[in-house]
Amino acid sequence: MGLALFNTFILLLLVVAALLALRVKDLLTASVVFAVYSFLMCLLWAEMGAVDVAFTEATVGAGISTVVLIATIFNLKRKSSD
């Protein structure tokens, strides 16, 4: 029963993270929340048995894309209009 509860909790947290990442105005915060979203996704997959995918998502998805996103934001404006 614990796993199903954990599963549901992670899924709800995921949706919240996704909405927050798109709602928040400051791009830097958005990319950090997006990193959180990726890590949650990685947790979910690890729990569902897809270990390789979780590892890749953690390194490639959360790691590199967040670094690259922040690197780009540093070169553009930080404030987003919507």
Binding site: D52, F55, T56, T59, V60, I64, A71, F74, N75
Partner: protein
């Protein structure tokens, strides 16, 4: 305009939910995907065919090796395209970014990083080499290695990282990675099999056909690791400085 954008979203949503009705039971072993001859072959025969304990790596590098080759090509394309887009296109004078602070690389950070980087790189090699047994493999190892160089670029500045890993080298290493991967496939083709048929390598290496696949997979993973390392670092280097490749973040 806002409301207008909800229409396609709702249409797609209704479409997907309509399909959900007909999905097989979640996680049931007799769902078509799970009991199909293809995946049951993978689970049953990977040990016999390729002697690789980690089925995912076996399927990734051998059964569907062609997919992975093109995946490496996609990574290589991303690197080349970013280079192509940002090369000599930046602004003339380096405008000061509003949140930039000119600080010397911090003492504590540089020392910890000096200790940390070798550990990361060893772990990266471990992940790459141990991909057959534990989760891991070319991509994850390559990214970790690339991350170690990015760590150096973050803590000191991009110049020091570029001294250790000049940009031209990223293209060369990226190309060599694909060359290695496709080269192994070509070699097995010259030895009489189809493209990427590693078991043919047994003709030249003193191993059985399955072990030839085992070792060839390692070679392929190294190729993937090379390309991913090079391209991840070049991606960071280009994007952080709009192709002007000086101080970086």
């Amino acid at each position: 305009m806002k409301l207008l954008s909800y229409i396609p979203v709702l249409v797609v949503g209704v479409l997907l939910l309509y399909a959900a009705k007909d999905f097989p039971e979640w996680g049931s072993p007799d769902a078509p995907a799970s009991k199909s001859p293809v995946s049951s072959h993978f689970i049953a025969n990977t040990g016999v065919d390729t002697e690789v304990p980690n089925m995912v790596t076996a399927v990734l590098a051998d059964y569907r090796g062609f997919d992975t080759m093109f995946e490496t090509v996609v990574v290589f394309i991303a690197g080349m395209a970013v280079l192509a887009i940002l090369k000599n296109s930046g602004r003339k004078k380096l405008v000061k970014r509003e949140f930039e602070v000119d600080a010397e690389p911090d003492l504590i950070v540089t020392n910890t990083v000096r200790l940390l980087v070798p550990v990361i790189q060893i772990f990266a090699f471990y992940v790459l080499a141990h991909g057959h047994v534990s989760p891991g493999g070319g991509f994850q190892g390559g990214v970790l290695m690339g991350a170690s160089f990015i760590l150096v670029a973050l803590s000191w500045d991009l110049e020091t990282a570029l001294i250790r890993f000049p940009l031209n080298w990223t293209t060369i290493l990226g190309g060599l990675g694909i060359f290695l991967y496709a080269g192994i496939g070509l070699l097995s083709m010259f030895l009489g099999g189809e493209f990427l048929d590693y078991s043919e390598l047994a003709n030249i290496f003193p191993v059985s056909r399955e072990m030839a696949r085992y070792h060839a997979m390692l070679g392929v993973e190294i190729g993937v690791g090379l390309t991913v390392t090079a391209i991840m670092f070049s991606l960071y280097a280009n994007l952080s400085t709009e192709g002007r490749l000086q101080r970086g973040l």
